[in-house]
């Protein structure tokens, strides 16, 4: 392949004479093309303001360091699960097994991680590798076995949950306090560093060869193939990344709870999809931003916090959560559509 700046054809003389049309600015393009991300960030700001308001109404003070720390710590597992989910959503699939992978990671951590640096590092790595391995299995079923993503991951969800129960039949085990304080320090919002790290990983992913391939599949799989992209490998990688992040989410979940439970991960399958949607990730693939998904994960957690401070009867909490989500999704879809049209 020749370098692009050595023309094979003489340049069109009329082009130089005609002069170029003005280009729209980089920022204008970015805003117009990332409506979902912008809306997710707006939603996050709105959720923070609302949270402060109900907090003020209840306690006549503003939330402080403690609230920030606990919010970030509680959201970390969802941030990781949702980013994992988004890799698969980008390819126009869904990974339902995320909850099962988190359960297994959680159970393994509670059983095996002991109070020595060696054990902590070793078992963290092992759990992450297992997570990636479970994702790889999903990827092979979908990419090579040509199963529908929902079908394949629904099956592996049950399998992974079953293995998790086998590892830790009863809630129990324990997580060393040192481990907890490194991942989700209960006194200072150090976990924000992990949020930043996830954002950086996304930034790199978006600019990597595999990132382009995964986005391309979601755009149009046939076109991606026609462009010489190995669509099978990209699909398998997307599921593997999803498993890896689900494994990390399980570790954070164990660290937050300081003990293990092979069932607490289940809910994350659905909330990770919710966070993706709130974060502006297109469920039909090919469009979306990880930064938006991180914001979406925080909004999802903050909704629960807001409901808590609004003195909602806990019995009706999930009812209001659902209501809130529907309103948020409908609003953001409508606004997004309006913005795109008026662009």
């Amino acid at each position: 392949m020749p370098p692009i700046d050595t023309p094979a054809v003489p340049p069109d003389p009329t082009a130089a004479a005609g002069g170029r049309r003005p280009r729209r600015g980089k920022v204008t393009h970015f805003l117009g093309q990332n409506v979902g991300l912008v809306l997710a960030l707006v939603m996050l700001v709105a959720a923070i303001v609302l949270y402060c308001a109900v907090y003020w109404a209840e306690t006549q003070s503003l939330p402080g360091n403690f609230e920030l720390t606990s919010t970030v710590n509680n959201t970390m597992p969802l941030v990781l699960a949702a980013i994992g989910q988004s890799f698969v959503v980008l390819t126009r699939g869904l990974d339902l097994s995320i909850g099962g992978t988190m359960d297994l990671a959680n159970a393994l951590a509670a059983v095996h991680i002991h109070d020595s640096p060696g054990s902590m590092v070793l078992w963290s790595v092992i759990v992450l590798a297992i997570g990636a391995g479970l994702g790889l299995v999903n990827g092979l079923l979908v990419g090579v076995g040509r199963l529908q993503p929902i079908l394949a991951t629904l099956a592996t969800l049950s399998i992974y949950q079953g293995i998790a129960i086998k590892v830790l039949p009863q809630p129990g085990g324990s997580i060393p306090p040192v481990y907890t304080s490194v991942l989700v320090n209960p006194f200072q919002p150090y976990a924000l560093l992990y949020v930043l790290l996830v954002a950086l990983v996304w930034y790199a992913f978006r600019r990597s060869r595999i990132g382009v391939a995964i986005f391309a599949i979601g755009n149009d799989e046939q076109s991606a193939r026609a462009n010489g992209i190995d669509t099978v490998r990209a699909r398998v990688t997307s599921f593997t990344l999803s498993g890896l992040f689900a494994g990390a989410a399980g570790l954070f979940l164990a660290a937050t709870a300081t003990a293990g439970d092979a069932t607490t991960g289940n809910g994350f399958t659905l909330t990770s999809i919710v966070a993706c949607v709130l974060g502006g990730m297109n469920l039909f693939g090919g469009r979306g931003s990880g930064i938006g998904v991180i914001a979406g994960a925080f909004v999802t957690t903050m909704i629960v916090n807001i409901l808590f401070f609004s003195n909602i009867d806990p019995l009706y909490q999930s009812f209001y959560e659902g209501l809130f989500l529907v309103v948020a999704v409908v609003l953001s879809t409508a606004i997004g559509r309006f913005l795109r049209r008026s662009r």
Binding site: I4, V9, A15, R23, Q33, S208, V212
Partner: protein, 508 residues
């Protein structure tokens, strides 16, 4: 039969050759022992009807398909192309009719996919990528396309230009273009041809297919005609009549059938002062067994007229069907009044491509083919088979998905559905566009038969020649209104075009 070019420097082998190539899909022999050869430094046109095997040949030469028999040669040597990458390695690149751009990625990302400039840590440097894309677009003379724009925000013509640009920057030695001009306007075609001439001067080999004869003769050095999966002959000069005869095995003179005599003078559709987006007070009257043509330059309200009448576009004005005022606010209303629309873009409007020919045909008459709420049985099959026979729909069977049919035959399926529903007012919108000569002829014959049965046809065509020959009357639209009415006999294509561009006396 390999051929070589004698030059001052010696013998130059053909850039690319196909020797007795064969390729079948299912039971259909798409390419049947075809031999083809093109030289470096020439523009070689491949012409033939749809289904003659041109696209398949292009795919065989471009490495997208493997031949069942025969061989492909590049620069005189036999090559095995296991995929597009193999062809690319030999400098053979293809621009396809179905675009392969990624809609939600930017022009720059699409242009430079898999060869993006990389910066620190091996990550893609987006600003540099945009810069490089900008240089490419400027160099190719299409810098009105913004490298940061998403593909989905570009017009169809712009997308096609990006698709072409993307292949040009790979510096192909052999360039295959499958119907590159079908979505381009006049200006863009001129741009492409200038580009092709530059490549030819540079010693590249360019092979393209087209249905537009004047384009072919204006740029091609040689023309190879295909029929039924094999070459009929290669010519340096050939006139259109003879080419059409070779393509179809039929004479051009008997091409347009005579419209039948009008038996009735009963108005079935009266439209007064129809207005809406792109439409300004258009009025017309359509009679039973009449073929009423609508012509004019593209973009002067034809599409809006047809879609308003079919209830697919908001409008104001009076519509009278069979003497009774009608409110048409949705296609459902229109269908209930016995109206049917056959649009030009078959994929997006009307057909369910993955479903069978039978299901598509009987979709509008489900109650009639159902018993106890269940669809199916001999009656449905009988109706569908009857329509397949009557319209000569070429399909391997009733159960095959419509997707497998050629464009013209998909068109017929849609028409067949409305005929089964006994629609009496047929709105045919540019139904012959992009359809091959033989199928076009069948569609003409069919229109005559339908008019003869007493149905009323409103017929828009971008081809003024068709309107002049096929219609009882022709309305010429300009700026959303009816600017002129011409009556047969004696309408010529020139009359229609003149009326379309002339300052209308009615205005002001």
């Amino acid at each position: 039969m390999s051929e070589a070019t004698q030059t001052a420097g010696g013998v130059v082998p053909p850039a690319v050759e196909g020797i007795r190539l064969a390729k079948a899909f299912g039971g259909v022999q798409a390419v049947d022992s075809a031999t083809f050869s093109a030289r470096p430094g020439e523009v070689h046109a491949l012409v033939g009807e749809n289904g003659a095997g041109k696209s398949t040949l292009i795919k065989l030469l471009g490495g997208r398909l493997r031949p069942d028999a025969g061989e492909v040669r590049a620069a005189g040597r036999k090559v095995e192309l296991h995929g597009a990458d193999d062809a690319h390695a030999l400098g053979i690149w293809t621009v396809f009719q179905e675009l392969t751009l990624l809609p939600w990625m930017t022009v720059a990302e699409n242009l430079l996919i898999r060869r993006e400039p990389r910066g620190r840590l091996g990550l893609i440097d987006r600003d540099r990528m945009v810069g490089e894309a900008d240089r490419v677009l400027t160099w190719l003379g299409i810098d009105h396309i913004d490298p940061r724009a998403l593909i989905e925000d570009l017009s169809l013509a712009q997308r096609q230009m990006v698709e072409i640009a993307r292949v040009i920057i790979q510096d192909p030695s052999t360039l295959l273009l499958d119907e590159p001009t079908s979505s381009l306007g006049e200006k863009e075609v001129a741009w492409l041809f200038e580009l092709i001439q530059g490549l030819r001067a540079d010693g590249k080999c360019i092979i393209f297919t087209s249905h537009r004869w004047n384009e072919i003769t204006s740029i091609a050095d040689r023309i190879t005609i295909f029929r039924n999966g094999a070459e009929v002959g290669t010519f340096t000069e050939i006139d259109e009549d003879r080419a059409v005869t070779l393509m179809t095995g039929r004479q051009l003179e008997a091409f347009y059938p005579q419209p039948p005599a009008r038996a009735h003078d009963r108005a079935v559709l009266e439209v007064e002062e129809l207005a809406g987006e792109g439409l300004r007070n258009a009025s017309l009257t359509l009679h039973a067994s009449e073929i009423l043509g609508v012509g004019g330059l593209a973009g002067h309200g034809h599409r809006e007229l047809f879609f308003s009448l079919f209830g697919a576009q908001a409008h104001s004005g009076r519509i009278v069907v069979d003497g009774r005022p009608a409110r048409i606010r949705s296609p459902r209303d229109a269908a209930r009044l016995g109206m049917a629309l056959v649009p030009e873009d078959r994929k997006t409007e009307g057909l369910l491509l993955p479903l069978s020919v039978r299901a598509n045909l009987t979709l509008a008459v489900l109650p009639a083919v159902s018993s106890l709420g269940l669809i199916g049985g001999a009656r449905e099959r009988g109706l569908a088979q009857g329509m397949v026979d009557a319209l000569k729909i070429r399909t391997p069977g009733l159960g095959n998905p419509v997707r497998q049919l050629s464009g013209g035959n998909q068109q017929k399926v849609l028409l067949g559905r409305w005929l089964l529903a006994d629609s009496r007012i047929l709105l045919l919108y540019d139904v012959t566009r992009g359809v091959d000569v033989a199928t076009k002829h069948e569609i003409y014959e069919l229109m005559m038969r339908l008019a003869g049965e007493g149905r009323a046809l409103l017929y828009y065509s971008s081809d003024a020649e068709e309107l002049a020959h096929l219609c009882h009357r022709v309305l010429v639209m300009r700026e959303g209104r009816i600017a002129a009415e011409l009556s047969a006999p004696g309408i010529t294509a020139e009359d229609i075009v003149t009326a379309a561009v002339r300052e209308s006396r009615a205005a002001d």
